[in-house]
């Protein structure tokens, strides 16, 4: 993983913390060498644990399939797993489907979560408390029990085997958390900004769209990241609702490679690596906002 490109230190405080920035506890520069070593050692160990499983899949994908279960780090390095995957399987179709579904989920999810979060943050209206609780409660009812009823709803709406069906389902997973978080984030934006918008004669929608949204970038970035990851990695609904190579998403498609009745390590590992790439890109894009966005959201959640 080439992740050494230094991200802009927006979220973390600049090294020379000045008084304006509520930054790190100072005086840490005076750490003893032993303490420094201990800290680095901890971080290195933690990073290795965090990265290793994924790295192992990457290494395995570069070995010929017949050596997939060996434990050498490198063995006859080859790209044949990748070429086979792209040539012989409908991987690219699944990939495209997943991209469309995750992309739509992200766009709609961010939009819906933002408007909902804003409404809940700024206005007092009948049903608000109920709504907040509902958002929490939707996370409590287990997916497992919902699959068959949602399947039937989608069948009734003619959305089975269509991207729209999965997008709508994923919105129900992603939006509650995102709306909660956006509410928290909007709470941290001073209300004077809204009031100035009103003074200028903007409607509540105009205020929201022109003034508040541009300030909410970190929150939107986290929301986008969360929605994307949710839709990109979901398995249960994806494999229940979609059938046929031209409709499957990655989560469903990959079950063809490794299931209870057989394992094709070659394509599976190569596919896993390729799948991680878009997620990593979204992550890179969002990560400098992640800490700010999350904390603001979670603090007031």
């Amino acid at each position: 993983m080439v992740t050494t490109a230094a991200p802009a230190p927006t979220a973390t405080a600049p090294a020379s913390a000045n008084a304006v920035q509520p930054a790190n506890p100072p005086l840490r520069g005076r750490r003893s060498p032993a303490a420094s070593v201990a800290l680095h050692a901890t971080l290195v160990v933690a990073s290795v644990i965090a990265v290793f499983p994924v790295l192992w899949v990457l290494l395995t994908s570069l070995k010929p399939a017949s050596y997939a279960t060996t434990t050498d780090f490198f063995k006859e390095t080859t790209f044949e797993n990748y070429t086979n995957l792209l040539r012989d399987t409908p991987f690219l179709t699944w990939f495209g489907n997943s991209l469309v579904i995750a992309g739509l989920t992200t766009l709609l999810g961010v939009f819906v979560a933002a408007t909902t979060g804003y409404a809940v943050s700024r206005f007092r209206f009948p049903g608000k408390r109920g709504l907040m609780w509902t958002l929490l409660v939707t996370q409590m009812f287990p997916v497992a029990v919902l699959i068959v009823p949602i399947y039937n709803i989608m069948a009734g709406l003619g959305l089975l085997n269509r991207s729209a069906g999965l997008v709508i389902t994923y919105l129900t997973i992603a939006v509650p958390f995102c709306a909660w978080m956006m509410k928290g984030f909007f709470d941290t934006i001073p209300r004077e900004i809204d009031e100035s918008g009103m003074v200028d004669g903007l409607t509540p929608f105009g205020t929201f769209y022109r003034l508040i949204l541009p300030l909410a970038k970190p929150g939107l970035a986290v929301t986008a990241f969360y929605s994307f990851i949710t839709a990109w990695g979901e398995v249960a609904y994806a494999s229940a609702f979609m059938v046929g190579d031209e409709n499957l998403t990655l989560a469903g498609g990959l079950q063809k490679f490794v299931n209870q009745y057989g394992a094709q390590w070659g394509p599976m590992t190569a596919a896993s690596v390729l799948i991680a790439i878009p997620a990593a890109l979204v992550f890179l894009f969002a990560q400098r906002h992640l800490v700010t966005g999350m904390s603001a959201g979670a603090v007031k959640g």
């Binding site: 017949s66 279960t69 068959v148 399947y151 039937n152 069948a155 009734g156 003619g158 089975l160 085997n161 494999s239 229940a240 059938v243 046929g244 190579d245 079950q255 063809k256 490679f257 490794v258 299931n259 209870q260 009745y261 057989g262 394992a263 094709q264």
Partner: protein
């Protein structure tokens, strides 16, 4: 119980209605008014991706050569998902295929739920007498035929001839011999004798049959899994694992079994014809002659492996019944079966196919045919497919030492009685 009967009766009535509709189409066909089939037939195939699916896809699409106006939509659904996916789709009335490759135990269940179109008197059934009787048995439910047998299978011991030679042992004929053979292999070569799948109860059945047991007895409506033979069989497999004669896993059983056999870490596995092509892919079997296949070892009472296989069934809600019937007939015809047997070594369900050149001299088919003839049929009741879920839980628990063989089969029996209301 009562409700079960009424639901079944209802299903039968509705199914009759479906046949009536189909019948109309038939007569239209026969009349030659507009005999040409058209439209799309969607087929859900469950064969193994990577090896079997290509052959079946090509075969299925060959249907268009006979009926140019019919488009065949081949969809491969992983075997592990297919039952659930079909159930989801079939009950909701949308998204179901026209034809499904149904495992033998699923067929009576789907039929009982009203999802399948009865095929008696339709174009789907041709030369019925040609089918092996045990293959045809699983397609019948409630005196009607709901599917057409496509392939049949059973299980045997796959063994690594090289390791056997090194250890100087012969293929074990009984479970007792299996233990001594395993020990000798361990002593001489350091390899483990056998890999026994611990995460799928289908692999337990031949040991159960070997002790004279069975899951249920449908004629006397009795649950038999928890009788003395059942408990004995559980003890036998537990002993195989404990004594080191066999090793097992509670997860990833298929992968571990195939990998350790293909890499030559174990000398024997129990498996069926569906595993042959995969096994040949292993390092140890680059020389195909190194793979030996023999009947499963006998227990203290009997010898036998379960009979399995796949049928093709037509969804009762299909919008294109006529073409679906014709497609089913085409896929199960002697010519199609011969091609499948030749290319994939899967066993035909038609007696006549076994005599065809290319099939008659196929070694794998030749080995499994007598095994299939002696294989033990499961009772083809709607619940047959449901019997595995409770059994596999207890089977794994026994093997991992979470419960005793006696308690294990006891709990399985209790679950069965809950499932089969009114059984002893």
């Amino acid at each position: 119980m009562r409700r079960g009967i009424t639901a079944t009766a209802l299903a039968a009535i509705l199914a009759l209605a479906a046949t009536a509709c189909g019948g109309d189409g038939e007569s239209g066909n026969g009349g030659g008014k507009n005999g040409e089939l058209s439209g799309t037939v969607t087929w859900w195939d469950t064969s193994t991706v990577g090896s079997e699916d290509k052959v079946f896809k090509k075969l299925a699409e060959g249907f268009t050569a006979l009926h140019p106006k019919v488009k065949v939509n081949y969809v491969n659904v992983p075997f592990g998902d297919a039952q659930n996916k079909f159930k989801n789709a079939a009950q909701s009335g949308s998204g179901a295929p026209d034809v499904i490759r149904s495992e033998v135990a699923w067929t009576p269940e789907f039929a009982d739920l009203g999802y399948l179109a009865p095929l008696d008197g339709t174009a789907a059934l041709k030369d019925e007498k040609d089918f092996l009787p045990q293959a045809a048995a699983s397609t019948k439910y409630d005196d009607k035929t709901y599917a057409v047998p496509q392939v049949i299978d059973s299980m045997g011991i796959f063994y690594n001839k090289k390791i056997f030679k090194e250890a100087g042992v012969q293929v074990p004929g009984t479970v007792a011999e299996l233990k001594t053979v395993s020990k000798k292999i361990k002593d001489k070569t350091g390899k483990t004798g056998m890999y026994l799948r611990g995460d799928d109860a289908y692999w337990f059945l031949s040991f159960l049959y070997g002790e004279g047991g069975n899951l249920v007895d449908a004629t006397s409506r009795t649950v038999t899994v928890d009788n003395a033979a059942g408990a004995k069989a559980m003890t036998v497999v537990k002993d195989l694992v404990d004594s080191g004669a066999a090793k097992t896993d509670a997860t990833d059983g298929w992968e571990n079994m195939q990998a350790s056999f293909k890499d030559g870490e174990v000398a024997m596995i129990i498996n069926g014809p569906w595993a042959v092509s995969d096994t040949y892919g292993g390092v140890q079997f680059k020389d195909k002659a190194n793979l030996g296949i023999a009947p499963v070892p006998a227990g203290s009472v009997a010898q036998g492996a379960p009979q399995g296989g796949h049928n093709l069934a037509v969804y009762a809600g299909s919008k294109n019944l006529d073409a679906s019937y014709a497609f089913t007939e085409y896929m199960t015809s002697a010519a199609s079966q011969a091609e499948v047997a030749e290319q994939l070594s899967l066993l035909p369900t038609r007696t006549s196919v076994y005599d065809k050149p290319g099939v008659a001299d196929n070694e794998i088919v030749g080995f499994f045919k007598p095994v299939v003839d002696k294989a033990i049929e499961r009772p083809w009741i709607p619940e047959t497919g449901s019997l595995f879920a409770p059994l596999v839980t207890e089977y794994t628990k026994v093997l991992t030492g979470q419960t005793t063989p006696d308690k294990g089969v006891g709990a399985t029996g209790d679950a069965y009685r809950k499932l089969l209301k009114g059984w002893k």
